[in-house]
């Protein structure tokens, strides 16, 4: 079964987020759409699970869109980035393109513009399936190496993807060396060829580079093609499982945040000087202080009224909802999407609290 592509929408206006979310959910490819109303939360989401595309506004309070784009481009080079903004400014447009965004859109106003926007997003999502390297989207790495070798070029092909980088040295149309962080020679060459996407640069040749690969480029590519065919059968399932594990192990709170409707998660120790651990929050300090104070107030009230243990606190707000549960001296504070009903909030907080306790 093909996996659904994931889109992350970033805008500080909740109404627009809801509108574009509904619009994108109707795309023919039926993508999964997640939303974020702050840059910090968007980055936390990108760190916790793999996304195919980020659609971001430019003007936002605190961390603005360009700052977010700079971080995302560096940390997640494989993600397609679409800028959607009401700022009609050529300077913004050129800065965004210089940062490597795939598409720059003025926020659609008419039905026609909406339809065009949907078509463009669908088309970009389609291209995602094919893989490729930024800047030469329709070419695979094998195509690039063949081009360099057939034209008898001398150059260094440098590939970068999150947590990895590698280079292939080509001299007079022959692959002479390759290196990644951990490998060199043919092993590094095969490793680099197995990467499906990332950023790509052609650097000037290094004539003094010592040759470590003596197999012809045709032989290297043939070996790779055979190995690739053998692996292809089970690659999808292995890759998906590895991906999920990697993302889940990054933060223990990230696992809790995967519950639908959760916007942020924070653990607050009772001691005021103890550090809080948070996920998806830009400025956790004031909220941590409120969590401590609220818990203390309601516990004291419960003791006076003799009402039994304080189990849970739920707050419903205009911008977002919040829930507090506790375990020992530590509180768990969770932010929820404002569209959740009080009953959904109650049940979801109970489930998250159980997961957290276990």
């Amino acid at each position: 079964m093909p996996t659904r592509q994931k889109i992350l929408l970033l805008d500080d206006e909740q109404d627009l987020l809801d509108l574009y979310r509904d619009l994108l959910l109707e795309l023919p490819s039926r993508p999964e759409v997640h939303t974020s109303n702050s840059g910090a939360r968007a980055i936390a989401l990108l760190e916790s699970e793999p996304f195919s595309m980020l659609i971001s506004d430019l003007r936002m309070p605190k961390m603005d869109g360009l700052q977010v784009l700079a971080i995302v481009r560096r940390k997640f080079p494989q993600i397609r980035i679409v800028v959607m903004t009401a700022v009609v400014d050529e300077q913004y447009r050129s800065r965004a393109y210089a940062m490597g965004v795939d598409l720059f859109w003025e926020k659609p106003r008419t039905n026609e513009e909406m339809n065009l926007f949907r078509d463009c997003i669908e088309s970009l999502l389609g291209r995602q399936d094919d893989g490729g390297f930024r800047g030469i989207q329709s070419k695979s790495l094998v195509d690039l190496i063949q081009l360099e070798c057939l034209s008898h070029s001398s150059s260094v092909l440098k590939m970068t993807k999150p947590g990895e980088s590698g280079s292939i040295w080509v001299a007079n149309g022959e692959v002479i060396d390759a290196a990644t962080i951990n490998l060199v020679g043919e092993a590094a060459f095969k490793e680099i060829l197995s990467w499906k996407n990332g950023t790509f640069e052609i650097l000037p040749a290094e004539p003094k580079r010592v040759r470590t690969i003596f197999t012809s480029y045709q032989g290297l590519l043939l070996d790779f093609a055979q190995a690739f065919d053998e692996k292809k059968g089970n690659e999808a399932s292995v890759q998906s499982a590895a991906c999920d594990t990697t993302f889940l192990t990054r933060s223990p709170l990230a696992a809790l945040s995967r519950v639908d409707g959760v916007e942020f998660v924070m653990t607050v120790p009772a001691k005021e000087d103890a550090a809080c651990d948070s996920w998806g929050l830009e400025n956790a300090g004031p909220l941590a202080a409120w969590t401590r104070q609220t818990q203390k107030r309601l516990r004291e009230l419960g003791e006076k009224l003799q009402t039994g243990d304080l189990k849970q606190i739920e707050g419903l707000g205009l911008q977002r909802h919040v829930g507090i549960a506790s375990r020992g001296d530590t509180q768990l504070c969770v932010g929820f999407r404002r569209t959740m009903t009080a009953d959904q909030l109650h049940e979801t907080l109970k489930n998250i609290s159980t997961k957290w306790a276990s």
Binding site: W290, T294, Q306, T307, G308, L310, G315
Partner: protein, 101 residues
């Protein structure tokens, strides 16, 4: 009958009876209207309202304005709803401690 009393399980004596009902307070925590029984002491109402109003105020100052707060205890649920600076507060007891006036 004395012998029956000897075999029966003693029922724990409740020190506080938790009422069911609601009351409205202004921004200073003064009670404006109430459907709670007269036996429920007003100072306790003031305690509840001051906690709820303080939670709303602090939430707003922390950048998380709230319209409603729900505290769930083992024997009681308190719901506070923001009302133009004041609040309407509902008390909903659970289990044995509940009684209706």
């Amino acid at each position: 009958m004395g012998i029956l009393n000897f075999f029966s399980t003693p029922v724990p004596k409740l020190t506080v009876k938790l009422p069911s009902g609601s009351f409205t307070v202004d921004g200073r925590g003064r009670v404006l209207a109430s459907t709670l029984p007269h036996s429920f002491p007003e100072p306790l109402m003031m305690e509840i309202s001051s906690a709820v109003l303080a939670i709303f105020k602090d939430a707003k100052e922390s950048g998380l304005p709230l319209l409603e707060i729900i505290a769930r205890y083992g024997g009681l649920k308190i719901v506070g709803r923001e009302l133009r600076g004041g609040a309407i507060i509902f008390l909903k007891p659970k289990g044995l401690q509940a009684y209706n006036s």
